[in-house]
Symmetry: C2
Subunit: 336 residues, 2 copies
Amino acid sequence: MTQRIRGVVAPVLTPFKADLSPDRERFIAHCKWLLSQNCGLAVFGTTSEANSLAAEERSILLDALVAAGVDTSRMMPGTGCCSITETVKLTAQAVKHGCAGVLMLPPFYYKSVSEEGLYRYFSEVVQRVGDARLKIYLYHIPPVAVIGITTGLVERLLAAYPNAIAGMKDSSGDWNNTKTFLDAFNVRAGRAVSLGARRSSDPGTDTQTSFDVFVGSESFLLANMRNGGAGTISATANVNPAAIHKLYAESGKLKTESGKRKTQRTDHDLEGLQAKLNVVRDLFGRYPMIAALKQAIAICANDPAWRTVRPPLVELTAEQVKTLAAELNTIGFKMG
Amino acid sequence: MTQRIRGVVAPVLTPFKADLSPDRERFIAHCKWLLSQNCGLAVFGTTSEANSLAAEERSILLDALVAAGVDTSRMMPGTGCCSITETVKLTAQAVKHGCAGVLMLPPFYYKSVSEEGLYRYFSEVVQRVGDARLKIYLYHIPPVAVIGITTGLVERLLAAYPNAIAGMKDSSGDWNNTKTFLDAFNVRAGRAVSLGARRSSDPGTDTQTSFDVFVGSESFLLANMRNGGAGTISATANVNPAAIHKLYAESGKLKTESGKRKTQRTDHDLEGLQAKLNVVRDLFGRYPMIAALKQAIAICANDPAWRTVRPPLVELTAEQVKTLAAELNTIGFKMG
């Protein structure tokens, strides 16, 4: 049984060349740098502009990462497309490469779809991939995908596929929603899952049955870790991974060292780390996030090529670039 | 210069086999039947579950239709994907096959995108396809795609690409919105387009500069034709094409025979035809539309295989099937 991926994971920004084709060299270099910062790789997430890439482009980039020796046990590629066929193809490729998991959007074109329809979709994907190594992290991001992941859906999927359904990323931006999922499904080591009948259709053999909840923003990281969460998959981890990892690591120590919170002082320290993260997150939140993160790398690495985004996104305006640079300077921001 | 496509067009339902793969034989047969009913073919529309198909599956099906001798001059395939790369590939294929046009969704994953970003997206597609035969019908369906087509966007695109931007399908369900586009952009034969500067970057040489507005439901067909519209691209055309075409043809006669409305009586006749169409449309509108249309074909053609939909859609329940059959019977519905 391989170790589940936990901690800080970046939905890796995808650099583009001037002709809008993916820039493999910069992409691989950025992935390697993130790994060096204790940051896992959710390549092909929303922040990655993955939905502005053809399925085939994602497939080629994943092969390129593997060929470059990037550690797939720290990788959770986004594989959720609108069609079962494309989702299955990308997911099977990720599993074959030994990726720690896949981050899976629900099919997001048709609206007002039923829980039954979404259940059938994910069920069909699990069955078609048919590999015991499959670990799906359901991706809840209603502000963008509109179609969301409900507790009812997770309950049905966990009952049918307790090993394949490994967790979720909650990008609702609503802590109460995260808390609802943590309370309903989070299972710590040694505790049995208190769900109903498990069907034998699951191709998995893994007996680790926790449902790992990642928050979609490090703003909720401390709250998530205090409530048994697994970490964060956050856009800003592309530029601020070390500080986010520090909070993750420190909050983990509390639990492992004593089994209960140590002192008020330590809690206070953690809150200080969280507050510092929030300053950076809030700064980027005042801009179109993806363009601003790419611009920040362009500034910090003195590499203007990083600015490029694919339409329908647009890069920051000259005025925004100026303000962003000044704001980063004011808080003494450095990548790392 | 080829004739623009006008009239009644069906977003062709895609039949699936039990294993959810596209059923080519039934698909080709349905396309040929629709053509025999004076109905054009917007294959790969929303009603076609095209967004539950891989780009590659659409590509293979289009080739299969062409190989089967289906008339591409009556065809307007849906080619709009989230990525420029896939949209360009499918669009270029349609143009190469001599399709009358393509129905193009805006990229629909990222939300709150700017008009500038959408302009760049469509502009990039036109430039990359780079073929004077390209005719794009912009697809406005905010209830599903969320991202919509604005008058500002159309104005910019028409100014840059007067030949490639041929019209739109308005599935907003809001007649006021359709009227706004008709008033702003519809140009009858012989009238020049009263827009600003035309850029020379358009690869087209076609001097026909009308902007053809199709309504997304035949409920608005008479209103559209009275206001200079081009026809309708409507889901229900899959099962009720002859009656919808009759209203289209009759409303056209009014214009060509006299140049103004003939008599109150004729207007009254047209309204009668519209009212009859509305009865059928409203009936299907009370069910999940796509599943209900497939079920209606299954009933009328005594071919249960037609029921199948791809997740996340679900077929009608047994109870819904019973009610639908009874309701169709009550209005004496027959396909045709």
